[in-house]
């Protein structure tokens, strides 16, 4: 069967939006664009990154209660407040999808509107996190140094927040390029890849939100003798 170059260009384009207009890139072995595969590989790697952090959080989630070192998670966490910011972040996945759908229809104005909306929702989430952290630190006295809950909570949610912040910078950069007329239908892959990252960060937040805020903690009951036992253990170490 005779296949034309035109057909080849479209062979990988279904659901991939790849080869359109990129005549300078020869078709690839899988038919997918290199950059899209790179993003998927990066996300696989990032899964391991968050898995390590989440495992650390799980190990320490009840330590502070057992040792009687406050502030405790039950006293500090404000589930309704964070539920709202979680909803805002999840809603931003919808606007991200709309941004991609717009540029795939060559609707440049739609792209700008929905990219802007997604960025704003991301900034609202980050603002929510800023006020939450400030509240915990100034009012509740929870810090990185106060106990293992503080250390693991701020590290896990803070590094997730860093991911969101990078995503916001990326989306704003795309918006900036678009406003200068740099993104048209054939560049929809640029938006799609940023979208993959953005959705991933949202999905990770679902796991973190459930684990940190929703699953109940042990009450702040000190396990009898835990601290004394640890002090005795470590006093046996010759260096101390």
């Amino acid at each position: 069967m005779a296949t034309t170059a035109h057909d080849v260009e479209h062979a990988g384009g279904i659901g991939a939006g790849t080869a359109h207009g990129h005549a300078e890139h020869p078709p690839t072995s899988t038919g997918l664009d290199h950059r899209k595969l790179l993003m998927w590989a990066f996300l696989a790697s990032d899964c391991m990154f968050f898995a390590s952090l989440i495992a650390t959080y799980v190990i320490y989630r009840n330590h502070s209660q057992q040792l009687g070192l406050g502030p405790f998670p039950n006293e500090v966490l404000d589930i309704p407040y964070t539920s709202i910011s979680a909803a805002v972040l999840l809603f931003s996945s919808l606007t991200m999808v709309l941004a991609l759908a717009a540029i795939q229809r060559n609707d440049v104005r739609g792209l700008r509107v929905w990219l802007g909306a997604t960025s704003v929702l991301g900034i609202i989430f980050l603002g929510g996190q800023y006020f939450e952290f400030s509240e915990f630190y100034q009012v509740e006295g929870l810090s990185l140094r106060s106990n293992m809950f503080g250390a693991s909570f701020f590290t896990l949610t803070g590094l997730h927040g860093t991911h969101v912040a990078i995503g916001v910078i990326w989306l704003l950069s795309l918006l900036f390029v678009s406003l200068r007329g740099g993104i048209s239908q054939k560049d929809s892959l640029n938006v799609e890849i940023a979208g993959l990252y953005w959705h991933f960060v949202d999905i990770v937040w679902i796991v973190i939100f459930t684990l940190v805020y929703l699953i109940p903690y042990d009450e702040g009951e000190v396990t009898e003798g835990a601290e004394e036992a640890m002090v005795r253990l470590w006093q046996a170490v010759p260096f101390v």
Partner: protein
């Protein structure tokens, strides 16, 4: 129908001019040049790490010796391990990935040429951060595994640990960037007709090693972030107690075992990251010098994948003496023993390849066979350690030191030396001197065994690792003197290698395209390869394309077998999705029409990767030399780090906005 494009018959394209000068090297995105940069830098660090080892062997050659003090000795063994793993073996493997993989799959470059340059410069930045510690007289001294709580501010108040933490963090960025690149290159840039199961086995090794790096490095990244937080931000992730201002003991609830878990979840896959490239190299070399196709090719590929998969489930065997209890010990003992199966399969397949072959003992073949024999010794002592009671006996003794030097030197380094001799003619167009090569091999082989075999005896006699000296009454003096003599013989053998390289670069015999009569694509193009690699992208119909072209099916494979090989997992074809495998020539024609291959298109040089790497270097280094500081909000941050982040941002944005090609 010709299987391989014949480059010599086509007029030379206009892009063949190869630029020169320092600026062209700083801005290069050519995978071959980056491969050479990786190779030269890694070889330099290999010599540095070797020098550190020889100073240690001077100190240990006699009981109660005082050549170096205990503090210097701690720095030497820490830097020796860290340097050999992260600055010598990994980047030397990376040098061959860079240079050879695109040639073997019939590509003109890697998928992301600028990311490739960024990987190299970032690797160099990490190596500099680690080694600049010598100038500050604060080289890392806590061991390459950095066990808590030795790394706490309490026991390591100076900057030694921070040089190590930040250096490794930067090296991690470099390794991950490089691995993403190789992964996508191999998945997505194979020549028409080259299904996954027609790839040279070296590409399989690179592919699986890249997967390991991409999935294992995040664990150490997190481990190092938490350690940095403990040291810079006052958390206690790894430190169960601390002293308050009044000098009283305070319990914090941190757990030193968390470090060990995170570290070894990375650390065990890391040993396969070090050895799989060497396995893949000898799997290329042994068939060529046995004049037979690789025995059990598909099984070899599956064995690499099986080793990598199982490698994620064995990390607790590094922690048998931490008292996790009988259940974890039993489970991880079993998974560890399982890894011996795919590894044994590989060894038998190498033997099977040589069996009945017309063996040619050239220098690369000698090193390859050296790997098969010496790695097997280290592999067997590894299986011994899979048993928790035996491991408890050997733990922290010289027996363990002997074991991992047999796998890392007898395995990885032997493989990489084989690769240097095998591909040197391709890199330079000159043959290496066979006489000097054989002398080098036998000196290395003798020096290696004299240096490392007696360590088994020392370990069984109870000599502990990492002690800077021992008493005369211990009875360890004799074997230690032998070990030190072996180490110096090994050091001397590297002088012969360097002499051979220098001499061959000057006066080596011309190599021609295919001096070894190899079967893979890199041997179909001139030596050294032109900047565009392939004048026309070749079309692949067979796993050993050059042999198929030259010898037809006389090498023992029938058409039936060839057809069968196209079937992969569960009856589904493995390889190209968009297809036309039945007629790869037509496919190639389509690709060329679509990609306009008549005009060879090469990526432009770029200095943004270098800018981004410099930014990363400054950002990390600023945390060590943290003055002057500037107030930002409620914190005050080191000026150098802030400047570094700014430079990094400039690099990334410049990179994103400049046209790729």
């Amino acid at each position: 129908m010709a299987t391989i494009a014949q480059p010599q018959t086509i007029a030379r394209p206009a892009v063949s001019k190869s630029p020169s000068g320092l600026w062209s090297w700083l801005t290069t995105v050519d995978h071959k040049r980056i491969g050479i940069l990786y190779g030269v830098t890694a070889f330099f660090f290999l010599l540095v790490g070797g020098l550190e080892a020889m100073i240690m062997r001077v100190q240990l050659s006699h009981p109660a010796n005082a050549a170096v003090g205990p503090n210097t000795y701690n720095q030497l063994f820490t830097m020796h391990g860290t340097t050999m793993i992260f600055l010598a073996i990994m980047p030397l493997s990376s040098a061959f990935f860079n240079y050879i993989v695109p040639l073997q799959i019939g590509a003109r470059d890697v998928a992301f040429p600028r990311l490739n340059a960024f990987s190299y410069w970032t690797f160099l930045a990490g190596g500099l951060i680690l080694n600049l510690s010598w100038l500050a007289n604060a080289a890392p001294d806590q061991g390459w595994y950095g066990y808590a709580p030795l790394t706490s501010e309490l026991y390591s108040p100076d900057r030694n640990v921070d040089f190590w933490t930040l250096g490794l963090q930067v090296l991690g960025v470099a390794s991950m960037a490089a691995s993403f690149n190789f992964l996508i290159t191999i998945i997505n840039m194979r020549a028409p007709g080259m299904t996954l199961f027609r790839m040279p086995i070296f590409c399989w090794g690179t592919l699986i090693t890249s997967v390991l790096i991409v999935l294992a490095f995040p664990a150490i990244t997190v481990a190092l972030i938490l350690l940095s937080m403990d040291r810079f931000a006052g958390t206690h992730f790894y430190f169960p107690y601390t002293l308050n201002d009044a000098g009283q003991l305070i319990v914090t609830g941190g757990d030193p075992l968390l470090w060990q878990h995170l570290f070894w979840i990375f650390g065990h896959p890391e040993v396969y990251i070090l050895i799989l490239p060497a396995f893949a190299i000898v799997s290329e070399i042994i068939p060529v010098f046995s004049r037979k196709p690789l025995f059990g090719y598909a099984v070899m590929a599956y064995a690499i994948a099986a080793i990598a998969f199982l490698g994620f489930g064995v990390w607790v065997h590094h922690m048998f003496t931490t008292g996790l209890g009988p259940t974890p010990d039993a489970v991880f003992s079993a998974t560890t023993m399982l890894i011996a199966i795919p590894t044994g399969v590989k060894i038998f397949n190498w033997v099977g390849t040589m069996w009945g072959g017309q063996l040619q003992f050239t220098t690369p073949m000698l090193f390859a066979v050296g790997l098969v024999s010496q790695f097997t010794i280290g592999g067997i002592s590894g299986v011994m350690h899979a048993s928790p009671p035996v491991d408890t006996q050997h733990n922290d003794s010289y027996f363990v030191v002997a074991h991992f030097h047999y796998v890392l030197f007898g395995g990885s380094i032997f493989g990489l030396l084989a690769a240097i001799y095998y591909w040197f003619p391709k890199f330079t167009g000159k043959m290496m001197d066979e006489g000097l090569g054989k002398l080098h091999f036998w000196l290395t082989f003798a020096g290696f065994n004299i240096a490392f075999f007696p360590m088994h005896f020392l370990g069984l006699e109870g000599m502990p690792r990492r002690y800077y000296t021992y008493g005369a009454g211990s009875g360890w003096g004799f074997w230690n003197l032998i070990v030190s003599a072996g180490a110096f013989l090994l050091g001397a053998s590297f002088l012969i290698l360097m002499w051979n390289i220098a001499k061959s670069l000057q006066r080596g015999k011309p190599a021609g395209d295919n001096p070894w009569d190899g079967s893979t694509l890199e041997w179909s193009i001139p030596s050294p390869p032109p900047v565009y690699n392939f004048r026309e992208i070749p079309v692949i119909r067979h796993r050993d394309p050059l042999w198929e072209e030259k010898y037809g099916h006389a090498q023992g494979e029938t058409h039936e077998e060839e057809t069968r090989l196209e079937v992969g997992v569960a009856g589904k074809r493995v390889g190209e999705a968009h297809v036309t495998d039945e007629d790869p020539v037509a496919e190639a024609a389509q690709r060329m029409a679509a990609g306009d291959h008549h005009d060879i298109h090469l990526p432009n040089p770029s200095f943004y990767p270098l800018v981004a790497s410099i930014g990363l270097f400054l950002a990390a280094f600023g945390l060590i030399f943290s003055y002057p500081r500037v107030p930002v909000g409620t914190a005050d941050l080191p000026l150098m780090s802030l400047a570094g982040v700014l430079v990094l941002m400039i690099g990334i944005f410049g990179w994103s906005l400049e046209p790729a090609s």
